[in-house]
């Protein structure tokens, strides 16, 4: 994103809207730090610039810069998934897709949130460690598409320095590998150069319980009481 210097009146109204703090206020006008801007589009959509000085220059959509927008602006579509947003539909449609079946768990690591963003190359500390464990990354996830080789977890050279609001790593593990993989993530987390949040997707047991909570607590991981529940209203329903 850029600000037309000839129009900007330096009012500063757009500054608080930028989640990256990338808008800098000068003596008479404001400017966007091109390297720090993740192209999330919040400034142009929300800040109601009184003189409409904020604009998206054509360079925004040139490779490799173009990946910033697809990973940061939820209104843009990922070309390889056709889905708006940064990841798959994960738990949201699991009652219909059965992406996460009984006997397996889904794991999602979201880099860059809350609020700091990430360079795509920085997620490699974790993706390489996971690849060593034999993890197969979700093919429909846009980050997997930017790996040199999904078997090594290495991110393509030309996109490594691109900064994005968030990037999600998704994969499925067999139930029996839970402790091993979670411990590995826990250990590798200390080496991560950026912030990440992590989440686990599990089916409810037929009796309505979630035994995974107890298993996680045994290895020192305490899931939040706040959970995202697929209430099973989707049709056709998949029970597997």
């Amino acid at each position: 994103m850029k600000i037309r210097q000839e129009l900007c009146v330096g009012c500063g109204q757009c500054l608080p809207y930028c989640p990256m703090g990338a808008i800098e206020r000068g003596k008479d006008t404001s400017r966007i730090n091109w390297d720090e801007c993740v192209e999330c589009g919040i400034c142009i959509r929300q800040s109601k610039c009184p003189v409409k000085a904020i604009y998206e220059p054509p360079e925004t959509m040139e490779w490799p810069r173009s990946v910033r927008k697809v990973f940061s602006d939820p209104t843009s579509k990922h070309e390889n998934t056709g889905v708006r947003g940064r990841g798959t539909e994960e738990v949201k449609t699991n009652d219909v897709t059965a992406r996460f079946k009984r006997g397996f768990f889904g794991i999602a690591l979201e880099f860059g949130r809350p609020g700091v963003g990430t360079r795509l190359g920085d997620v490699e500390v974790i993706t390489k460690a996971l690849a060593e464990e034999g993890i197969q990354f979700e093919a429909a996830n846009p980050l997997t598409f930017l790996m040199e080789d999904a078997r090594t977890g290495i991110i393509k050279e030309d996109v490594r320095n691109e900064k994005v609001l968030s990037a999600i790593v998704e994969f499925v593990i067999p139930q029996e590998n839970l402790e091993e993989i979670c411990t590995k993530i826990f250990e590798t987390a200390s080496k991560a150069k950026c912030i990440f949040s992590w989440a686990l997707i599990s089916r409810f047991e037929p009796d309505g319980t979630l035994p995974v909570v107890e298993r996680l607590e045994k290895i020192g991981i305490k899931p939040s009481k706040n959970m995202k529940i697929n209430v099973g209203l989707g049709r056709p329903l998949k029970e597997e």
Binding site: E90, K92, P114, I229, L233, G234
Partner: protein, 140 residues
């Protein structure tokens, strides 16, 4: 509200804070589902959400989103995203979606005990859960 899954702060600060998302599964039941998405929106608007955001019009209720305009613009792949601060409203919305057999997937994010009791009251069997395991790493 901080995020539809990850919350910051003590549990009592989000006791009655529910995020409701409804959407079709792309490639499975999305073709021709716009009328069902519209009906979902109508039910939600009738019950009165605290807020509702739209990727289609890029607005939300607090910014002045017009429900009728949004419903008119709804397409097969338009997800429904809103939040409620009243348990009863969530119960009513889910009951109506179930009775009318809308058939789109619905997730409710909130304290697990509350969501399970809501599902019990509505007569729903929760299918899957997404659990937040917290934050790691460094901000440099």
């Amino acid at each position: 509200m901080t995020h539809s899954l990850h919350r910051i702060g003590s549990e009592d600060t989000f006791q009655d804070d529910y995020v409701l998302i409804s959407r079709p599964a792309m490639g499975i039941n999305h073709v021709g589902c716009a009328p069902r998405v519209k009906r979902t929106l109508e039910i939600i608007f009738e019950e009165g959400p605290t807020n509702l955001g739209s990727l289609t019009t890029q607005e939300n209720l607090t910014m002045g989103l017009d429900p009728q305009e949004l419903i008119a613009k709804t397409e097969d792949n338009s997800p429904v995203m809103c939040c409620f601060h009243e348990r009863e409203k969530v119960v009513k919305v889910l009951k109506r979606l179930k009775e009318e057999e809308i058939g789109l997937s619905v997730i409710v994010s909130g304290p697990i005990d509350n969501v399970q009791s809501i599902c019990k009251e509505v007569g729903l069997k929760p299918h899957s859960a997404n659990l937040s395991l917290g934050f790691h790493g460094s901000a440099r």
